[in-house]
């Protein structure tokens, strides 16, 4: 099962991943046209800075997902096989509980559509669009590795 990893030292904070993410989730899949779509596709990944480092932040698909626990509409489900938190948008009531409980602030509210915005690992593509977009290779898409505590 593949996950997104980051080599934080390499992140220059260019935000190319943000733009690529928004385009990937737009209807047309093209930058110029995506900005004209009625329901604007927003980036599911945001680059934050802390100290002298930049951190591309998106849903980490935790094995023990707080958001799933907090979801009162059962719109969020953890799929063990895919290693992903799945979001059934039709069930979502826009209560923002997931936004509040996420320890990484990786889920953002889309006020307009009243649906939270979160990474879906570009499920229809070979690899998430942010990986290809990163000009320095700071975003890595690889098989999950055990992290020794």
């Amino acid at each position: 099962m593949k996950q997104l990893y980051y080599e934080v030292k390499k992140c220059l904070g260019c935000k190319s991943c943000e733009i690529a993410c928004a385009i990937a989730h737009s209807l047309t899949g093209e930058l110029f046209k995506a900005l004209k779509e009625e329901a604007l596709s927003l980036p599911r990944k945001k680059v934050s800075s802390s100290g002298d480092k930049n951190y591309p932040v998106s849903c980490r698909h935790c094995k023990d997902p707080k958001c799933v626990e907090a979801c009162m509409a059962a719109a969020l489900v953890y799929d063990k096989e895919k290693g992903m938190v799945l979001h059934d948008e039709s069930r979502c009531v826009g209560c923002w509980m997931c936004v509040m409980v996420c320890p990484y602030s990786a889920i953002r509210p889309n006020i307009k559509t009243k649906i939270p915005i979160r990474c879906d690992k570009c499920k229809d593509k070979d690899e998430p669009s942010c990986v290809k977009a990163c000009p320095t290779g700071a975003i890595i898409w690889q098989e999950e590795v055990e992290v020794i505590k």
Binding site: C14, K15, S16, I19, A20, A22, F32, L35, L40, K132
Partner: protein
């Protein structure tokens, strides 16, 4: 298997790209791939690096920053970025013009013996425009004229003399808007000033200053370049030539001239005919010396001497990859930094000649007007000596070459249409008025690997001539269509609509006319002014049923050309990506709508050549209707 057809419609290009792939030589197309995806902020024009409080970016999704640290919003940032590009484009053409005028000056003082006044008529015509007494000796006239021309660059007040070539009404529009250019250098400097941190924050005002700067190029620097080149190198006449990589010859010493300033390449032409050098070449086992060109230097030597054209912008690396080029000598503009590495894969010697454009570690043979012929000879010798280093097994020249006719200037077109003894624009105007000709189109500009090479130029031009629009071309666009056989008289029968066909057959011209290099876009402006002066098609350039397009543009110079066309009243379509302005809705609306009310023309952005032709034809028809012209004869 890579699809080379998606990269270019030109078979010669496809073949050499295949060879490059096999030999693992990287070209612009490969580097474009490595750049994917390209920066969204950059594409939208909303990244600002002007001051050190930044770099700042505006969030195109409207969630984050709406202003940079200084407070500049997307409109200001996009307009400033665009304005800077206009200034740079204008500086390139105008600095070229200055160098040519300087050569005229040196020549008139006896310091540039390799040049002479070739077109005395043009010298006198120009001198009269500047109020110089033409009864003096030609040397004296040249001296006074060059002084006046160089003064145009440093002028602080008044207006550029060439602006008087524009129809009265157009001049009034410029005056009313306060965009009449005052001095060539001043407009570039002033525009740059307005874009620095904390000066002009009004995108509309930035564009107005940009329009004035662009006019100082079109009706200034570029016009100086074109006209003085005609004086000292000769005015082009219709001439046959050949185009595409097939013009390189296997058993000859191949020398490719590339860049934009023809003052040196003219000497290269002369040196390539030098019997001693030819003898030297033969002594090294070659059949002789074969000179060919790339980009606008190619257009210049083609127009004046029929020197074959090896290709357009995206073929510069490919010419070297044929393995048959001994020397590629370059001057300024559009010379890819990548040439050095590509040349290092072969015996090819890259030679820089201009102190403004150097490569680290590359042979530099500096060219000055004083030593022009000597420098050219030295480069030829270097090429001849290099012939023995060629690895014959790696030579692979595509067979493709095509005939073309070039050399149509504003003077020549109308001699042809009107006859030598009654040279007049009347037949052209009448053709438009009667509806035999729908209108005119200028299709110009570069190549851009983001689009299928040459496809946009050819698809658009074929569609235009099919609809009885006479197409005027310059630069790499002209080379693109020449390669596909649109620049021969026979093309009229195959591709042109019935009305255009009748005209082409009657006077024996191709349906697509090659007017020269990209500084020669100034020829289109003066030609259009003559059309107005002839009468029957309105009082202003914006009245003419005409449109412009740069379908595969990439250079800042193309932006400037677009701006001086629009500022002169010509509706202009840009292909590839819009000029990095889409991050500002207000600016886009201003350029593509509001400008028409202000200067009588606007921009359009389009990425489909058939759609482009529809836009241009619709505009031409709108102008025909406004003039109450008869319906198009063979619609």
């Amino acid at each position: 298997m890579e699809n080379f057809k998606e990269k270019s419609i030109d078979i010669a290009t496809q073949e050499v790209l295949k060879k490059a792939k096999e030999e693992n030589i990287k070209t612009a197309w490969d580097r474009l791939e490595l750049q994917q995806p390209q920066c969204g902020f950059g594409q939208l024009g909303i990244c600002c690096t002007i001051c050190d409080m930044g770099p700042c970016r505006i969030d195109p999704f409207g969630e984050g920053a709406k202003a940079g640290v200084c407070g500049a919003n997307a409109d200001t940032i996009a307009a400033r970025n665009l304005a800077r590009k206009i200034a740079v484009g204008a500086s390139a053409h105008s600095d070229h013009g200055r160098d040519v005028a300087h050569t005229l000056s040196l020549m008139s003082e006896g310091h540039a013996h390799d040049y002479e006044i070739v077109d005395i008529e043009k010298l006198k015509t120009l001198a009269q425009e500047f109020g110089i007494d033409i009864t003096k000796t030609k040397e004296q006239i040249a001296k006074e004229l060059s002084k006046k021309l160089l003064e145009e660059f440093g002028k602080q007040e008044g207006e550029l003399i060439f602006c008087k070539r524009a129809p009265k009404k157009r001049q009034q529009i410029w005056k009313k808007l306060g965009i009449t250019p005052r001095g060539i250098d001043r407009e570039v400097v002033e525009l740059l000033h307005t874009t620095t941190m904390g000066v002009d924050n009004d995108y509309k005002n930035l564009i107005a200053t940009g329009l004035r700067c662009a006019l100082s190029d079109g009706w200034g620097g570029s016009m100086v370049a074109t006209d003085v080149q005609d004086i000292i190198l000769g005015s082009p006449q219709p001439i046959r030539g050949k185009v595409n990589l097939g013009v390189l010859k296997e058993d000859y010493v191949n020398i490719v001239v590339h860049g934009h300033e023809p003052v040196l390449s003219e000497m290269a032409v002369k040196a390539s005919l030098d019997p001693e050098l030819i003898k030297l070449a033969k002594s090294k086992g070659a059949q002789g010396i074969n000179l060919a060109g790339i980009c606008c230097t190619a257009n210049e030597v083609l127009m004046r001497h029929g020197i074959p054209v090896a290709g357009n912008f995206l073929q510069q690396e490919l010419a070297i990859i044929t393995g048959a080029v001994e020397v590629m000598m370059v001057d300024v503009q559009c010379i890819m930094p990548a040439l050095q590495e590509v040349a290092s894969c072969f015996h090819t010697k890259l030679v820089t000649t201009n102190p403004k454009a150097r490569f680290p570690g590359v042979t530099h043979i500096e060219f000055e007007a004083k030593n022009a012929y000597e420098a050219a000879k030295k480069i030829m010798q270097l090429a001849i000596e290099n012939f023995s280093q060629r690895n014959k097994e790696r030579v692979n020249i595509p067979k493709q070459e095509m005939d073309l006719v070039a050399g149509f200037t504003k003077e020549v077109v109308f001699q042809i249409l009107g006859g030598k003894y009654r040279a007049t624009y009347k037949p052209l105007n009448e053709a438009i008025i009667s509806g035999r000709l729908r209108g005119l189109a200028g299709v110009v500009g570069c190549n851009n690997p983001k689009q299928t090479h040459d496809y946009f130029h050819n698809t658009l031009v074929k569609e235009l001539i099919k609809n009885d629009v006479l197409v005027l071309q310059t630069g790499c666009s002209a080379i693109a269509c020449a390669k596909q056989g649109l620049l021969i008289p026979e093309a009229a029968k195959e591709y042109a609509g019935r009305g255009l066909q009748e005209i082409c057959e009657a006077v024996g011209i191709p349906p697509v006319l090659h007017l020269g290099s990209c500084v020669d876009n100034s020829r289109i402006l003066t030609a259009a002014s003559y059309v107005i002066a002839e009468g029957g098609l309105g009082e202003d350039l914006s009245d003419i049923p005409a449109a412009g397009c740069a379908p595969e543009w990439m250079s800042e110079k193309a932006i400037t050309i677009g701006f001086y066309f629009v500022a002169s009243g010509v509706f202009t379509v840009f292909g590839a990506s819009p000029f990095a302005v889409l991050g500002s809705d207000n600016l886009v609306h201003y350029l593509t709508h509001d400008l028409e009310e202000i200067v009588g023309a606007k921009f359009a952005f389009c990425d489909d050549p058939l759609e482009m032709s529809k836009m241009m034809i619709a505009h031409i028809d709108k102008k025909r209707k406004a003039l109450n012209l008869k319906p198009v004869m063979y619609a």
